[in-house]
């Protein structure tokens, strides 16, 4: 019984972390775009006259979403129309359960792993769930029964499906280096040192794989350089016929994907919760110095390192989103099929040759 309780507590923690960060990522995006475009950004929402640089804005948005009308167009396919945002949200949100937030936490004689699903196939689970999320887009576009949404859905499906291949292929090299599909053992393997001083992170062993993964993942989030399915000024997107919280779910999924992609990227290529030169009992610097720390502080450091890395990559993705203009559709397809897939095949061949000699 207490096992179930611990799992439930972990799930609630992960959920709160995910939803709160998703909510505040909208604020970060608004403020960052405001800084880039030399504006002030959202700052009006207040509670009793107190506005802390617009920090209440996401809460106001959420409340507004909740009290909107539930509107399903008469010409749409009703059930699929409602199912689409659910699928879109569910399969992306579930992914967080396979991501390790930290190592083992020891409390009262118990060893609690700071991840929910300790799978042997954690990586495949994540990839499968991210691919299933595509159904949300296709169903949303198709069930709305409108030609613009259908076009958006088709574009989205073709784009995501193309980059799915590059995403999978870019990870093959990584699995060759750390022979495991278990995300927590991949993170553990990244705690070792290369040449005695460089952390053995994926990005140092698989720089090309990391780059391909990042670009493919950026395309998977379907945000601006790759926002063809949405295309605000041409087809308005696969969620044109949605309103209220159902539309909000699609938008939340976008932000959640930014977050998930960041967590996945750091778990696979940037050491996950690993702090450089820190092992289970404290810091062991390569020049011989040692700082021993109690267990609680070590776990705290790990979780903090994980969060800092996630924030960095969220920031980077938002920066990219507000810096680059949208690709044309043939450019997107060219980048996926003609550049990323050959490069990732070359990455596999190169990794194989280097590792066998």
């Amino acid at each position: 019984m207490s096992e179930v309780l611990i799992v439930l507590i972990k799930i609630i923690c992960a959920l709160v972390w995910l939803l709160a960060l998703t909510l505040y990522l909208t604020w970060v995006e608004r403020k960052e775009s405001a800084v880039i475009q030399d504006r002030i950004g959202a700052n009006r929402a207040d509670i009793l006259g107190i506005r802390i640089i617009g920090l209440f804005q996401p809460i106001a948005d959420a409340i507004k979403f909740v009290f909107k009308e539930d509107f399903t167009p008469r010409f749409s396919k009703k059930y699929l129309h409602t199912l689409a945002p659910f699928i879109s949200f569910f399969f992306v949100a579930v992914t967080i359960s396979a991501i390790p937030f930290g190592d083992v936490l020891r409390i009262g004689g118990r060893e609690i792993k700071l991840l929910i699903l300790d799978f042997n196939v954690g990586l495949l689970f994540v990839l499968a769930m991210l691919s299933l999320g595509i159904y949300g887009i296709i169903l949303g576009g198709w069930a709305s029964n409108n030609r613009y949404t259908l076009l958006g859905g088709m574009r989205g499906a073709a784009q995501l499906v193309s980059y799915e291949v590059a995403l999978g292929l870019s990870l093959v090299g990584l699995i060759m280096v750390y022979p495991s599909l278990n995300l927590s053992s991949i993170v553990h393997a990244q705690g070792e040192l290369l040449f005695g001083w460089l952390p053995k992170w994926g990005v140092f062993l698989q720089p090309l794989g990391c780059l391909i993964f990042f670009f493919a993942a950026l395309a998977e989030t379907k945000r601006v350089p790759f926002d063809l399915p949405e295309g605000e000024n041409e087809i308005v997107g696969f969620f044109t016929e949605y309103s209220g919280l159902k539309w909000g779910l699609f938008m939340m999924t976008d932000f959640m994907e930014v977050l998930i992609i960041s967590t996945l990227l750091i778990t696979l290529f940037f050491g996950g919760w690993q702090v450089p030169w820190m092992s289970a009992d404290g810091f062991h610097f390569p020049w011989g110095a040692q700082v021993l720390l109690p267990h609680g502080i070590v776990v705290l450091f790990q979780v903090l390192a994980f969060n800092l890395k996630v924030f960095f990559f969220c920031w980077l993705q938002i920066l990219i989103r507000w810096t680059y203009p949208r690709f044309r559709y043939d450019q997107v397809m060219d980048l996926g099929w003609k550049l990323l897939i050959p490069l990732s095949l070359a990455n596999i061949i190169g990794t194989g040759i280097i590792m066998s000699i």
Partner: protein, 115 residues
Amino acid sequence: MIELFLVFLVFGTLGILLVSMNKLLGPKRSNPTKETPFECGSPYLQDEIKPFPVKYCLVAFLFLLFDIEVVFFFPWALVFKEIGMTGLIIMFAYMFVLIVGFIYAWKKGAFEWEK
């Protein structure tokens, strides 16, 4: 396994709650204009969905082929250190076939979109 069940249960419940929240809390006001499809301001143009470019189907076929090949790569990569050189040569032979197919699709113009 209980973890997976619990994860699906909690996230599923939350998803259903979020989807149905507007039905529970939102107002209900309908009018004829609201019922028409969104056509960027132009009048109602269509009754049923029009066909879409066949290119998208081609991408789907190619995806099926290549994604299955990706799936074949994963178990090989997992045991790569143990099987060593033999495995590498066999995989290169497999990859050669894959790359020939890839080049064929490229030359056939499967990746070309009208500019």
